[in-house]
């Protein structure tokens, strides 16, 4: 990269970064979406509308993921372009770490639980 163009472009870019994206309509849209995306899971669980618990669990997890994305876009102003893509890079790296740690822990501990089951049942006996 040419140093001259980088120097000229970078300062203007960084100066208004983070301020420029926020608009009233953006915040309001994000707020309305997150109210809806919060209200529906609460309603589903509190009223028990869906036939089975598994379906309800899957649906509310899907709503949570959508709401997290909404917050990221409208409140945290994430975009692939902010900070020349470095914030997105850090986010993707974190998501990879979180997915490995979470799924790995749950998977391993679940297997450990089922393989320890005979012991567990014996100690449970009175």
């Amino acid at each position: 990269m040419n140093t001259d163009t980088h120097a000229a472009g970078a300062h203007d870019h960084h100066h208004d970064d983070g301020h420029a994206h926020s608009t009233f309509s953006g915040y309001m849209l994000g707020f309305v979406l997150s109210v809806v995306l919060t209200a529906i899971p609460f309603w589903l669980v509190m009223s028990g509308t869906l036939p089975s618990k598994q379906i309800t669990a899957l649906v509310i997890m899907a709503f949570a993921i959508v709401q997290i994305v909404v917050h990221m876009i409208y409140f945290l102003h994430m975009s692939p372009k902010s900070e020349n893509g470095w914030t997105m890079m850090a986010l993707i790296f974190t998501i990879v770490m979180v997915v490995i740690a979470l799924s790995g822990s749950l998977w391993v501990m679940n297997h450990l639980n089922s393989n320890m089951m005979p012991m567990h049942e014996m100690t449970g006996m009175k």
């Binding site: 707020f31 899971p41 997290i68 974190t94």
Partner: protein
């Protein structure tokens, strides 16, 4: 410093200086703060993993169904959501250089945050009073650690908010204060994102179980 020497057609050397040019103060703050938030995200991921592993170990103690009051959680969630949008309004008025209005929105955000902490502490006190202490079962240890860590973050955010309101009162919306308000904005919205995980995986899925 790297210096590359090229010979041009005329024979005289041309120097390209690949050196760090001076940056304005705080130009990398938002990226640095974002990376801090990502590391904080890993802390919460570990606490969620612990809750996911231990969340069903009640040790013959109370289960989520006996403890959680979803109406209260819904009120609490709306407090945090409202504080997010009012912080957004504070950022918008900050862009328009309106000091008094920015301060007002920050104060409203603080009140919603305080309400959130108040409701959460009431809930904790109620649970502990019923004997559902962190020592009771692995589920309750994981619950208090995860939700308590989030509450601690919100409390720190509130202290930060008050500090910045004093700063803005003293020095106005100078460049440094704008930068700080932007960092707190990221922190505050990030805590709201974590709360989405808490109310879904801890409260709603807990009551479903």
């Amino acid at each position: 410093m790297t210096v590359a020497v090229n010979s041009s057609q005329a024979g005289e050397p041309v120097f390209y200086l690949a050196d760090e040019h001076p940056h304005p103060e705080g130009y990398s703050t938002s990226l640095g703060f974002w990376i801090y938030l990502m590391s904080d995200c890993l802390i919460f991921a570990m606490l969620f993993a612990a809750f996911g592993v231990l969340g069903a170990n009640y040790a013959a103690g109370p289960a989520p169904k006996d403890l959680f009051d979803l109406d209260l959680v819904a009120v609490n969630t709306s407090m945090l959501l409202l504080s997010s949008i009012t912080y957004g309004f504070a950022m918008l008025t900050m862009q328009q250089n309106k000091v008094a209005q920015t301060q007002m929105w920050l104060a409203i955000t603080g009140l919603f945050g305080l309400a959130f902490i108040g409701i959460e502490l009431t809930e904790f006190a109620h649970m502990i009073h019923e004997g559902a202490t962190p020592q009771r079962s692995a589920f309750l240890s994981a619950f208090f650690t995860l939700v308590g860590t989030h509450g601690l973050h919100v409390s720190c955010g509130l202290i930060w908010l008050v500090t910045l309101m004093v700063q803005v009162q003293k020095f106005g919306l100078i460049e440094a204060n704008r930068r700080r308000l932007m960092c707190l904005s990221m922190f505050w919205h990030f805590l709201d994102v974590v709360w989405i995980g808490v109310f879904t995986f801890v409260y709603l899925l807990g009551v479903l179980r």
